[in-house]
């Protein structure tokens, strides 16, 4: 028994060692939620290890999100990952533990060094421990880390390397029969930019959550929730991003309406409480519906009106709508998603070389999956990202003629991906 524990610990350390040396921007690797429960490597009586590897070959039409004459390139993405869990999905334990780690390496397959030098190295990791799940009083400790690398808007500029970490706790109180549930949560987050010129936008934030819900049906509840953020920029520099204390208070309904229809509808009030410059003071609300008309089909539709803290300006008002459909035909799974976002930036400073304005971002994702085995499948997909904005950015330095350049872009990505997840 002691040897078995030792082996488990050794495996954890080995995997952590790998994880800390390397990440995933768009986490296309498998996650614990989608892994087949029958797969996995048993490490002792209670631990299960899932391993995953994704290999993607694709073509990106616009590596640097340019308006005209975009740089395009083929790329290769590698996504190894692992999930260590004490929780076979069918049962609940008094203490549950989940650990996830993943890497994402992107190499541009081109001889053009102005593109290939922007290779990406992404990391994501998560740790979650849930205590007393079967009790009316339970809590969860969690920590999630993401290192993301994104190519800049101009070739030759450094990549937009960023480290984000959130550590938090959620306490769940469901006295009596569980009709009333109270959630109390706290999160401390860090958003750290690695390039020196971006460190004015380093952010530390605290998030406090309070939520009370009344379950009037077994899987349906009405709720009222309040969320308070404390956003602090410890190194304001020339960026001078204002600190803020955004507050959201929502009331809504969440859960099953019928066996086929799941709904989350909410409406509330939000105030940004920015210490300087413009500050939002508005109604917020949204709707997210999921419909499963047959066992082979799932549709989703949603809309959200809100505001978000932003690295550009102080914040942006947001209206986002999306529509998606998943269909299983024989052994093929088809996925289609369309999203439109209207983002209105406020409080943009002169140093950011642009003005307040509106971005209209459209995203389209199409994908078909085919499983060879329950642990091995191939995917082919197409992603469209498009921005039409009324903003322009003033560019030009070092001999280049200054000018106002639109921030519009159109980006097509086509890919073929092989994923193994055991």
């Amino acid at each position: 028994m002691r040897l078995r524990r030792y082996l488990v610990l050794l495996t954890c350390l080995a995997l952590l060692g790998v994880a800390t040396s390397a990440r995933a921007q768009s986490s296309s690797g498998p996650t614990a939620d989608v892994l087949p429960t029958s797969n996995g490597i048993k490490l002792g009586d209670a631990m299960l290890l899932h391993l995953g590897l994704g290999l993607e070959l694709g073509w990106d039409s616009n590596v640097f999100y340019e308006d005209v004459n975009p740089h395009n390139s083929f790329y290769l993405r590698l996504n190894p990952s692992f999930d260590l869990t004490t929780r076979p999905r069918e049962m609940r334990r008094t203490i549950e533990f989940d650990l996830h780690g993943g890497l994402g390496y992107v190499e541009y397959l081109t001889t053009d060094s102005s593109i290939s030098s922007h290779r990406q190295f992404n990391v994501d990791g998560g740790l979650q421990a849930a205590f007393f799940n079967n009790s009316p009083y339970s809590f969860i400790l969690f920590d999630n880390y993401v290192r993301s690398t994104m190519p800049p808007y101009v070739s030759g500029s450094p990549n937009l390397d960023r480290d984000q970490n959130e550590v938090g706790v959620r306490i769940n109180l469901s006295p009596g029969g569980g009709r009333l549930t109270f959630l109390v949560g706290y999160v401390f987050g860090i958003d750290y930019w690695e390039p020196l010129q971006l460190q004015d936008y380093n952010l530390q934030y605290h998030r406090f959550d309070l939520r009370a819900s009344w379950r009037f049906l077994p899987k349906t509840a009405v709720y009222i929730a309040a969320t308070e953020f404390i956003n602090q920029y410890p190194d304001p520099g020339a960026g001078m991003h204002p600190n803020s204390y955004p507050l959201h208070v929502d009331a809504g309904l969440q859960g099953l309406i019928t066996t086929k229809l799941t709904l989350n509808a909410w409406i509330g009030y939000g105030n940004g409480f920015y210490v300087s410059g413009p500050s939002p003071n508005t109604a917020v609300g949204g709707l997210a519906a999921s419909w499963k008309p047959t066992i082979l089909s799932t549709g989703a539709i949603g809309y959200q009106h809100d505001f978000q803290n932003s690295v550009l300006g102080s914040y942006y008002d947001e209206d986002t709508a999306y529509l998606s459909w998943t269909q299983l035909v024989w052994r093929f799974t088809g996925f289609l998603r369309f999203q439109y976002s209207n983002l209105r930036y406020n409080g943009v400073q002169m140093i950011q070389a642009t003005t307040d304005g509106t971005d209209n971002v459209i995203m389209l994702n199409v994908r078909v999956d085919y499983p060879f085995k329950d642990w091995l499948f191939v995917s082919a997909g197409y992603d469209l990202t498009l921005n039409r904005s009324n903003r322009t950015i003033a560019l030009g330095a070092g001999g280049v003629t200054p000018g106002l350049v639109p921030v519009d872009y159109t980006k097509h990505v086509v890919y073929l991906r092989l994923t193994a997840s055991y």
Partner: protein, 183 residues
């Protein structure tokens, strides 16, 4: 003459009813004569099967005794103890009969074998009855025919888990909009 015919008819009817009653009785109880047709090996196998079932009943009654003791219910405990004492006595006799039966089979003494088998069969019946009575002592006679089993079929389209609880927050990775110094 008519009275003589009536007497004959009554006699025939009585004889018929007697035969019918005997036939019904044969259905309701174990047919001991039938066992005559069993071979020595079949007799021994059948006897072992009876003993196995009797041991299961004995274990069940002991469980009931533990339950009554745990519940600190003296009325139930006394009742179960009484049944268990009788049952244990029958088990001792059964074990003796099993030994004798094996000996009779070895000696090819069919009459003695038949006698012991009949005795084991009667003991089996008595143990079964005691088991039922012990269940009734505890008031769980229903469980004697099997505990209630509830099969729940959930529509596979119904989402698993609790959809009323929001997900845990995770870091949101968004690309910064095009502006200085993000270019």
């Amino acid at each position: 003459m008519r009275s003589q015919l009536n007497v004959i008819a009554a006699f025939i009817a009585l004889a018929g009813a007697t035969v019918a009653f005997a036939a019904v009785n044969e259905d309701a109880s174990i047919d001991f004569r039938k066992s005559i047709t069993l071979s020595p090996q079949e007799t021994q196998a059948q006897a072992k099967d009876y003993v196995k079932k009797m041991q299961e009943t004995q274990r069940r009654v002991m469980q009931l005794q533990s339950k009554a003791r745990k519940d600190k219910d003296m009325v139930k405990l006394n009742c179960v103890n009484d049944k268990l004492t009788q049952l244990n006595g029958h088990m001792v006799v059964t074990n003796q009969s099993m030994s004798t039966l094996a000996l009779d089979i070895a000696k090819s003494d069919d009459t003695a074998r038949q006698h012991e088998f009949t005795r084991i069969t009667i003991l089996y019946q008595k143990v079964v009855t005691l088991g039922t009575e012990a269940e009734q002592c505890i008031g769980e006679d229903v469980s004697y025919v099997g505990a209630t089993r509830v099969d729940v079929e959930i529509d596979p389209r119904v989402p698993q888990g609790d959809p009323t609880i929001p997900d845990l927050p995770v870091p949101v990775v968004t690309r910064p909009p095009e502006a200085s110094p993000f270019v």
